[in-house]
Symmetry: C3
Subunit: 118 residues, 3 copies
């Protein structure tokens, strides 16, 4: 696929990192699912990759514990959106998309990209 | 929600980290699901947040490979409980709750909390 | 269970790390599911543990966004295979199994093993 993702994929990242935002599976922004919006914006920004991992239980800032066992449908379950790119680009992405990230637990850690082509 | 979680949320962490414990989805302690117990104790301890991520396959210390494809029900599947707080508090939490963590793979890494309010 | 896993479990890791490979749930290699093959090879190599985490949405190198919401079956969903062992062993594992990892996003980060027995 042409576009910023392919271009970004071939350029080595100088300070690779992983941004993780913990959110509720059903959180919405402007009638769209928040995790969808974050993934779409990450893609539009040309970031290296994004994955939404499904949680089955958890609590965050609100202190409520949500679990699949108490609910018939997957309502209000935790999810973690994981985005990999350059650390500085990830911080900028989080700041530029404050409407998505504000008030949520957002973490960033350094990592190494393992490239077998070297 | 009042309580230690809300208080902890407003205080910046000095050395933020993430504790991950890999366990079996169906592991129990005193007739309760182990991942429930860990999440509840993390909440009671006022830790910043906890999420149980669902695994579909894996092996740990026992060396058995469990997978959704061999089983009709989600029996003996892996899960990862992820807890974010100060590194030292996470180490203390693991030691204090040795009945939950003993003999399991438990990892801890440093990370940065991304705070858009700054 | 006897074998390399049990032996590896008792030996402390000098530079523990976590390797994560992001892939498509349905990716195959020689007619076998890729995530199965990676977990089986990790086990055969005596690595400490491996877990396949289920994603519900995401994009990687191809730039396509896959989601559970557009599909009736869990087709082409993202997954993350997480393997914990010594960093150098993880790099070697990735290089030796280039047929599984080539062209995929593979990350490695340092971490600490929390051992309550100390």
């Amino acid at each position: 696929m042409a576009g910023p993702i392919s271009d970004a994929s071939v350029t080595p990242l100088r300070h690779p990192g992983r941004l993780t935002v913990y959110l509720c599976d059903t959180a919405r922004i402007d009638h769209h699912r928040l995790c969808d919006v974050i993934v779409q914006r990450a893609r539009a920004a040309g970031l290296r990759g994004a994955t939404v991992l499904r949680g089955i239980e958890g609590f965050g800032r609100s202190g409520d514990i949500h679990t699949t066992r108490l609910l018939d449908v997957s309502d209000h379950l935790p999810a973690a959106v994981v985005i990999v790119d350059d650390e500085e680009r990830l911080r900028e992405f989080a700041h530029r998309n404050d409407d998505c990230f504000h008030g949520r637990l957002v973490t960033l850690e350094s990592l190494e990209i393992v490239d077998n082509s070297g």
